[in-house]
């Protein structure tokens, strides 16, 4: 028979191990559920089916595309190959301008329409989403 102390220690190690496994499982599970993918208009154009989940779209705000109404704003995000129309009602960050980089978070209605729930503020006036930068350099 094992002594009481050994049993206790065994129990202790078992508890620690189970907790660890549960923790890792829990973190990975909710990571899977809560991750937001980043896509460019071209990637959306190429994708075979429309994602129901929340995504982020990055690109440039097309020139002369911003139009304001009292409760919403609409504009076009472009990566100079493909475009997508965005409708948004909410707070607008300072650096939101035509012909500047933008990242919008929200849901796709279809391949050409996107309802944004958030427009992300970038702190730097020279910020450009990496995909857009790559697209610009290709031109």
């Amino acid at each position: 028979m094992y002594g009481r102390k050994v049993k206790l220690r065994f129990l202790f190690v078992a508890i620690v191990l189970i907790t660890l496994i549960l923790t890792v499982f829990l973190i990975l599970k909710s990571l899977e559920e809560n991750v937001v993918f980043f896509q460019s208009p071209s990637e959306i154009n190429l994708s075979s089916e429309i994602d129901k989940k929340k995504i982020r779209i990055g690109g440039m705000v097309k020139k002369d595309s911003i139009s304001f109404k009292s409760n919403e704003v609409s504009f076009i995000i472009t990566d100079f190959k493909n475009e997508i129309n965005v409708i948004y009602s909410g707070a607008i960050p300072n650096l939101f301008e035509e012909e500047k980089g933008v990242v919008a978070e929200g849901f796709l209605k279809d391949r050409n329409f996107f309802t944004a729930t958030k427009i992300l503020a970038k702190h730097d006036e020279n910020y450009m989403p990496p995909e857009v930068k790559a697209a610009l350099e290709e031109k």
Binding site: R9, T19, T23, L26, I27, S30, L31, N34, V35, V36, F37, F38, Q39, R56, I66, F68, K69, S70, N71, E72, V73, S89, G90, A91, I92, P93, N94, L95, F96, E97, E98, A121, K122, H123, D124, E125, Y127, P130, E131
Partner: protein, 626 residues
């Protein structure tokens, strides 16, 4: 020009002294007595040289000496003097120089303050600290020299990013650095103590002060950053789970855990390995933070330049430090043999260990959430982001047992205790559940989870509050910090539950109205300042009782660099903040208006102040007792 030369050469001299110090310390380690006085004077000299270099950079900024590349990139003649000085550390090169300055300052203070410690321990700590210092010297001089020369000399500088031109942000980096760098002393000292097998109660009570000091500064630094984000970024929140915020939270979590463990080690010779691991990881996490924000991997206001070379250097440096420390830990550390012999389930140390587990869990959640997107990008070039829902879902449920353990834990005694005569523990629990149900019941959604959350925070609140009036209770500083923590959680919860927000687009003269609030956009005026133009909007906001207040949110259009920033208008009272911020989009007559009512906002700041005040008190109390 002249100052750049002086600054540059004193940096190189400082590096030489660092190398000399390491060389002589290692060479004369056997007969170390004669080193005792010399090391102090040399360390002081090194600090003095870095100080000169730093002052030279400040002078270059004040004089707007654009022959200096750093000044050219980050300053402008029309900038107010205060921000010229603050701009010194508002950029990559200058902030690293500040980091170095604090590193050398801390090792000086460490040597002065630990006169009574064994000489070998002091020398070894110095050597480890000098290795870090030399690393930073090389990094600074090789990849980000603040004294680079520009020719031809430009007429005008490029200016400092306007959102950094703010009093809170001028002092945020120095305070945060004091916290980060304080953890380097803990790191070096833990390694030294491990190699000499000195990890004991005595060492714990000696290093505790350093843990406290860096913990206080780190707490205050995070607070300042958070306050700044609240009123300057115009999002109206205080924490966004942004990667750059997370990298400052991670060392804080590790440091808080360490603080509690050191207390256990001071009383009982247990948890030694754990304390060493925590000391190492706290500093490693601080370095990781520097690496992530400086290398341009995380895009944010802290990313001054995207330079892969710099990132690579910090990464290599970081890995060699981790390697050295793991090597020392595995080869020199001798764990105590009589470890678990008198460890009882119901005791203070058990409750601290339990809280440690929770802290480690929170830490790993934040770490994974921050690092996972980076790894995924590197491995599969998929771009993802991990937002607040992830953190909320994983952290909030575990806050409940965490808070309960925090309420009951300090009531237990060291080694072994029982919970007799503690009727008030149960009665307070019932009171807090009832109270929180009363608060929450008006809201239809999530009654259960909110009631449980608020009651556990309220429970801690009531218990710590009671302890202030019970004479028998000795540990006031701990009680203040825990009280502050309960207040923090309570204000955050109530703030989340009762916040109101209106976002709308208005033209001048238009009115927005809903059942509770009426917002009238009255007028717009303009004002010229030295380095910006401001557009001031006037709103009058009427609540449902008919009280009306005027708000003057502002837009600032800076001339150099050409950036628009919003200045929110915030009316703060003890019960709630009213927050309004406007935005304008080019060639549109609409203003984007965001109005928020945020209850208990000021209590979030005050409670964090209370938490760090508790730490400060404990620091000075120990000084008295000596």
């Amino acid at each position: 020009m002249l100052y750049s030369v002086i600054g540059h050469y004193s940096l190189i001299l400082g590096l030489c002294i660092g190398l000399l110090l390491v060389y002589y310390s290692v060479k004369n380690f056997k007969n170390s007595e004669q080193l005792n006085n010399k090391i102090l004077s040399f360390t002081f000299l090194q600090f003095f040289l870095v100080m000169i270099s730093f002052i030279c950079l400040i002078i270059s900024f004040i004089l707007s000496d654009f022959s200096n590349e750093t000044v050219f990139n980050n300053s402008h003649t029309t900038k107010p003097l205060f921000y010229k000085i603050a701009g010194t550390w508002g950029n990559h090169e200058g902030s690293l120089l500040l980091w170095l300055l604090v590193l050398t300052l801390f090792i000086c203070i460490f040597l002065i303050k630990s006169k009574s410690q064994p000489i070998k321990y002091k020398i070894l700590t110095l050597v480890f600290q000098q290795i870090i210092i030399i690393g930073f010297f090389v990094f600074l001089i090789a990849t980000s020299n603040p004294f680079n020369y520009l020719y031809p000399i430009p007429e005008e500088g490029l200016g400092l990013n306007p959102i950094l031109q703010d009093p809170a942000l001028a002092i945020h980096p120095p305070i945060l650095y004091l916290g980060y760098v304080g953890s380097s002393i803990i790191f070096s000292s833990a390694l030294a103590a491990t190699s000499l097998n000195l990890v004991s109660k005595k060492w714990a009570s000696h290093i505790k002060k350093w843990v406290l000091v860096s913990w206080i500064f780190l707490t205050l630094g995070i607070l300042l950053g958070s306050i700044w984000a609240y009123y300057e970024l115009g999002w109206g929140g205080f924490w966004f789970w942004d990667p750059v915020e997370n990298v400052s939270l991670m060392p804080w979590l590790a440091l808080t855990t360490l603080l509690h463990c050191v207390l256990v080690l001071e009383k009982k010779q247990v948890l030694t390995s754990w304390v060493i691991i925590l000391s190492i990881s706290t500093f490693t996490l601080s370095m990781c933070g520097t690496f992530l924000v400086r290398s341009g991997i995380l895009n944010s206001v802290h990313t001054f330049a995207n330079d892969p070379e710099r990132g690579l250097f910090i990464l290599i440096f970081l890995f060699s430090l981790i390697f050295i420390s793991l090597f020392i830990f595995f080869f020199f550390h001798k764990p105590n043999s009589n470890n678990s012999s008198n460890f009882f389930w119901l005791s203070k140390e058990t409750s601290i260990v339990i809280n440690n587990w929770f802290m480690m869990y929170f830490l790993s959640v934040v770490l994974i959430g921050t690092v996972y997107p980076i790894f995924l990008d590197v491995l599969s070039s998929q771009k993802i982001s991990v937002g607040p829902p992830f953190y909320h879902k994983l952290i909030i449920p575990f806050l409940i047992p965490f808070l309960l353990a925090m309420s009951v834990g300090p009531k237990l005694k060291w080694i072994k205790s029982n919970l007799e005569n503690k009727i008030y523990l149960i009665s307070l629990l019932i009171i807090s559940i009832l109270l929180s149900f009363l608060i929450v019941k008006n809201f239809s959604q999530n009654i259960l989870i909110n009631t449980i959350l608020i009651s556990s925070a309220l429970y801690l609140f009531l218990i710590t509050l009671r302890d202030f009036f019970v004479k028998k209770h000795k540990n006031v500083s701990q009680n203040i910090s825990h009280f502050g923590f309960s207040l923090l959680i309570l204000s955050i919860l109530l703030n989340n539950l009762f916040s109101n927000e209106i976002i709308t687009n208005l033209k001048v003269g238009e009115v927005f109205e809903n059942s509770k609030t009426k917002i009238t956009f009255e007028s717009v005026s303009q004002k010229e300042e030295k380095n910006y133009k401001s557009v001031i909007a006037k709103f009058s906001i009427e609540d449902k009782k008919g009280n009306s207040e005027n708000f003057l949110p502002e837009l600032r259009i800076y001339n150099q660099p050409n950036i628009v920033t919003s200045e929110a208008d915030i009316k703060t009272t003890m019960l709630s903040d009213k927050f309004i911020v406007i935005n304008i989009v080019q060639n549109q007559e609409f203003f984007n208006v965001r109005y928020q009512v945020k209850p208990f906002m000021i209590w979030i700041w005050l409670s964090v102040l209370l938490i760090s005040f508790g730490g400060t008190l404990s620091l000075f109390k120990k000084e008295y007792e000596k």
